[in-house]
Structures are given as C-alpha cells and as structure tokens.
C-alpha cells in the first residue's frame, strides 16, 4: 500500500501540542527533556491526554501482536527470590508503619494518651518511637554499608573477571609460545637431519675421493696416463713392457714401461717408470731385439721416482723387432750386446 497525499496532509494542520505525542507513545522521543514536555502537556490539557490515550491504545496492539514466549523456568523463582529479599521487614518500615498507624488516628497522640489514661503505655510507645528512630538510623546506616559492600563485591567481581581474562590470555600466549618453540625444534631437527645428511654425503665424497686417489695412484703407477699423453701427442701405443719375473729375476717388481710410436714417420717414445736408481757409473740402456740380435737404442737416466721418457728414431719399423729390453750398462760403455743386469723385458705386440 502506498501513501496518499491525503494521508500526509493530515499533519499540515496539526496542533503543535500533538506534534510529539506519537513519538512519545512509541518511545521514540530523543531525550528526557522532550518526554517531560510531552508529559506536562498530557497533564495540562485534556484534549492532549485524549489524543495520547488513542495513540497509546495502538501501541498496546503492537505489544499484543507478539506471540507469547515461555521464559526460562528459573526466571519466576529468581524474581520471587529477589522480591523476598527486598521485602524483608526492616525496622524502619515497621516504625514507619507504626507512626503511620498512630497518625491515622484523628486525635493528637498526646490527647489520646491523656484521654486514655494509659500514660505508661504512651511512654512505652514513645520509647518505641525513639528506639525505633535510633534503629531506623542504624538500619539506614546498615543499608548504606550493604550497598557499599555490594558495590565492592561488584568491583571485586569485575576484578576477578579481569584477572581470569588476563590469566586466560597469558595461558593462550604461553600455549602459543610452546607451540611455536615446538615448531622451531622440529625445523631444527629437520635442519640437523639435513646437516647430518650433508656430513654423510661429504664423508661419502671423501671416501669416493680416496678411492679416486687410489685409482689415480694406481693409474700413476701403471703409467696409464702416459698412454693418454702419447695418444694426445699423436703417438700410438705399440707395446707395453711388463716385468717378467720369470725371465728377469733381478728386475724391480714395480718396473714397467711402454713404447709409443708416432703413426707418421719413425719417431718413437719409450716411457718407463718404477725403476730403481742405477748403480754408480751405470745408466739404463734400451735395447730392441730383432731376430735375436739386440740393437742399442739409447742410454738414459731415471728421475727420483724411477721414471724416464726417451725419444728415439726407430732404426727399422717396429714390427721387425720381437722384444724390448732395458739393462744397466756402464756409462758410455755400451757394447754390441747387453752385459749388465736386465731390469725390463717385454714382447712387442
């Protein structure tokens, strides 16, 4: 439904005294002052009161429009308990009732006392009043103290609640910290695990390096690197010379060597290692053996570790030679045949 112009115009000629009545009935006035002003108008003017009663009848309908809801069962007991507390007979109330009762009598109290002749009773009544007044004062004091205690109790309750909140907060913080530390510990454990793993890995690497070193040592020992050098320099390995203890009983067991022959031309290189230092005034002599006739090729010295590289020209293609031999000969004393100790002997391939 929409508002019509007629509806709105109802307000145009509204009596100013009625202006805030509806808001008052609906509880929608802004402040206490406005409410007091409206209440004053309602008291002062019957027509305002009549209008207000009409409007408040409508607000009764609004209140009645709400479907009743059963309150919690304990609420009634709570209300009655509080009512009992507040209705506890106080001395002040009893004395006030007594005074009120006395005042309700038409004759003055002194007249009634003297008319009745019960002066003792009157005195007693006076005493009751005086004592009652004193007790009333004490009761008021007691009431004030109770109020003060209630106030203190409320403050204490708030304090306790605050403390509980603080404790709860501290507990939460503590729990968070523990959780955080636990998490950090786990991270550290992971990192420590990773470190251990790294150390193990490094140990493995060291072990592998040791193996590699051994291999290198072995490679150095068997002079396989010479093969590499020779091949790189364009030489072809033609023959390995190995110690043959059966044939060369006096040879050093570690002695070995090879002949590398250049593919083009008759240049050749003899590599040897593991030879002991020759006797004084002696040097090693390389012999090529063809058809049983030895041909001296070169006399050479070895390094401190017993190795030597001897370059020479093949007198004839290598296939004409069946074996290679190294002997110790006197320096500058090479004859046509080997005469000194043989240290290496090998078949050519």
């Amino acid at each position: 439904m929409t508002e019509t112009k007629d509806n709105i115009e109802l307000n145009d000629d509204m009596d100013p005294r009625f202006e805030n009545l509806a808001a008052y009935a609906l509880g929608a006035l802004d402040d206490e002052e406005s409410r007091a002003a409206v209440e004053h108008l309602i008291e002062q003017f019957p027509e305002v009161r009549a209008e207000y009663e009409e409007l408040s009848e409508a607000t009764d309908y609004l209140a009645a429009s709400v479907t009743p809801v059963e309150p919690p069962a304990h609420l009634k007991a709570n209300i009655l308990k509080q009512a009992e507390k507040e209705s506890a007979p106080s001395v002040a109330r009893l004395v006030a009732a007594e005074i009120a009762s006395n005042r309700s009598n038409s004759a003055p109290w002194w007249q009634r006392v003297f008319q009745s002749g019960y002066a003792v009773s009157a005195a007693a009544a006076m005493l009751v009043i005086v004592v009652g007044s004193v007790l009333s004062y004490q009761n008021t004091q007691l009431g004030n103290e109770i109020d003060s205690l209630r106030s203190d109790l409320a403050a204490e309750t708030v304090l306790v609640a605050n403390l509980q909140n603080e404790l709860a907060t501290t507990l939460n913080d503590s729990e968070s910290r523990v959780a955080s530390m636990k998490s950090e510990m786990e991270v550290m454990e992971d990192e420590f695990g990773a470190t251990t793993e790294m150390v193990n890995h490094q140990e493995e690497m060291v072990s592998e390096l040791a193996v590699a070193n051994d291999a290198l040592r072995q490679a150095l020992r068997d002079q396989s690197w010479l093969t590499y050098v020779a091949m790189k320099e364009g030489y072809q390995v033609e023959s390995w010379l190995a110690n043959d203890t059966q044939q060369v009983a006096t040879a050093d067991p570690d002695a070995a060597g090879l002949i590398a022959v250049r593919v083009v031309g008759n240049e050749a290189v003899f590599q040897v290692h593991g030879l002991p230092q020759p006797q004084p005034d002696h040097a090693y002599t390389l012999w090529l053996m063809g058809n049983g006739d030895p041909t001296p090729v070169s006399q050479f010295e070895v390094s401190e570790i017993g190795s030597a590289t001897v370059a020479f020209l093949l007198p004839a293609p290598l296939q004409f030679y069946s074996s290679v031999m190294v002997t110790q000969e006197r320096v500058n004393g090479i004859g046509n045949d080997p005469s000194g100790t043989m240290v290496i002997f090998g078949e050519t391939n």
């Binding site: 439904m1 929409t2 508002e3 019509t4 509806n7 709105i8 109802l10 307000n11 509204m14 009625f18 202006e19 805030n20 009545l21 509806a22 808001a23 009935a25 609906l26 509880g27 929608a28 006035l29 802004d30 009663e53 009409e54 409007l55 408040s56 009848e57 409508a58 607000t59 009764d60 309908y61 609004l62 209140a63 009645a64 429009s65 709400v66 479907t67 009743p68 809801v69 059963e70 309150p71 919690p72 609420l75 009634k76 709570n78 209300i79 009655l80 509080q82 009512a83 009992e84 507040e86 209705s87």
Partner: protein, 197 residues
C-alpha cells in the same frame, strides 16, 4: 476447612493483585507473572532478539512492578498499557545502551521482523496467533513508509530523529507518519480487539 477460605489468586483482577503486591504479597506477584510473564518476555525477545538479555529485562520489569505496583492507579490508563510501557521503555533503554556499546548490537532490522515463538500453550498460541494475525493484517494495510517508522521506532527503539536520518525523510514527515500509523492501527483494531488487549 482452611482450604475453603483460602484466597484464589487466579480469580483476582490485575488491580486487586497490585493492591496485594503493595502489601508485599509475593503470591500476588507470582500470579501476575503467570498472567503476563510470557508476553513481557516475548516483547523483550522480539525487540532484543536475545533471550538472555530478555530474561534480565523481564526480571527488571517484574521487580519494578513489585516496587511501584502500589503507586499504580487506573488514572494512569489500563494496567496492560502501564505494564507494557515499562517493558517497552526498559527494553528500549537496553537497545540504546547496546547501540552505544556496539558490541552486543545486532543491527539488522530483518532480525526483528520474524516473530519468535517458544514453548507456548495451545490456548495462548491460538489467541496470540489470532491477535497477531489481525494486527499483522492491520500493519500490512499501512502504507510501507508508515509501517517502516512503526517498526523502526517501536520494535527497533530508534528515535524519531534517528529514523529521519536513517530513512532520509524530513523529521516532520516522520512525525506525521508515526501519528498516522498509530491512528490507523487503532481505528482498524479497536472495534474487534479492544476487549482482548
């Protein structure tokens, strides 16, 4: 034989119960609570949408009746008008306090549009539903703008200035709509519901 003369509080009128309350008669208060407690609680729930807060309001209202019951006279209007004005004012105070606090405010008008019903006796439910249906029908017949100001003021506890601000209407228009809405409701409902309320 005492039972024969024992006072049956259920038979007493509201004003008679109030007189007994003035004499600190707790059974009279209990009877009044039995008679109106559900409606008082329901109105508070309708406005606050909070059963716990409504419980506090209900207790405050009946304690107010306990303390001030003796001062009530029929010159102040019908007893129910007086009682529900106490409920309404107390609940509005609570609503405005919450609005100030903001922490407990559930500021959604739609929360309040659904009437809640709890454990209600069949008889109460039938009567209430009947009343509610009639009042709801009367409300529905109001122009939307008038319905809104009633809802916002009576059930949401907004002042007329707040309603003007919230709805963007001039204050004078809000006042007029409030008055028109109440007059229309009264006209529509007084004939058939006057005796029930």
């Amino acid at each position: 034989m005492d039972e024969v003369y024992r006072l049956n509080y259920q038979d007493l009128e509201d004003l008679e119960l109030l007189a007994k309350i003035g004499e600190q008669d707790r059974e009279a208060l209990a009877t009044l609570y039995e008679r109106y407690g559900r409606r008082v609680f329901a109105l508070a729930v309708r406005m606050l949408n909070d059963p716990v807060g409504s419980e506090e309001v209900t207790q405050d209202v009946f304690m107010s009746v306990w303390r001030r019951g003796a001062t009530y006279t029929s010159k102040k209007g019908k007893f129910t008008t007086w009682l529900f004005s106490i409920v309404h004012n107390r609940t509005i105070d609570e609503l405005r306090k919450r609005r100030r606090d903001r922490s407990r405010d559930k500021d959604d008008i739609n929360d309040h549009l659904n009437i809640q019903s709890g454990d209600v006796s069949p008889a109460d439910a039938a009567v209430a539903q009947s009343e509610y249906a009639k009042i709801r029908a009367a409300m529905e017949n109001l122009p939307e703008e008038q319905k809104q100001v009633v809802e916002l003021s009576y059930f949401k506890g907004l002042t007329q200035t707040e309603i003007a601000t919230k709805t963007g209407q001039p204050l004078g228009t809000v006042k007029t709509r409030m008055r028109l809405a109440l007059k229309k409701l009264r006209t529509a409902l007084s004939a058939e519901m006057g005796a029930q309320v």
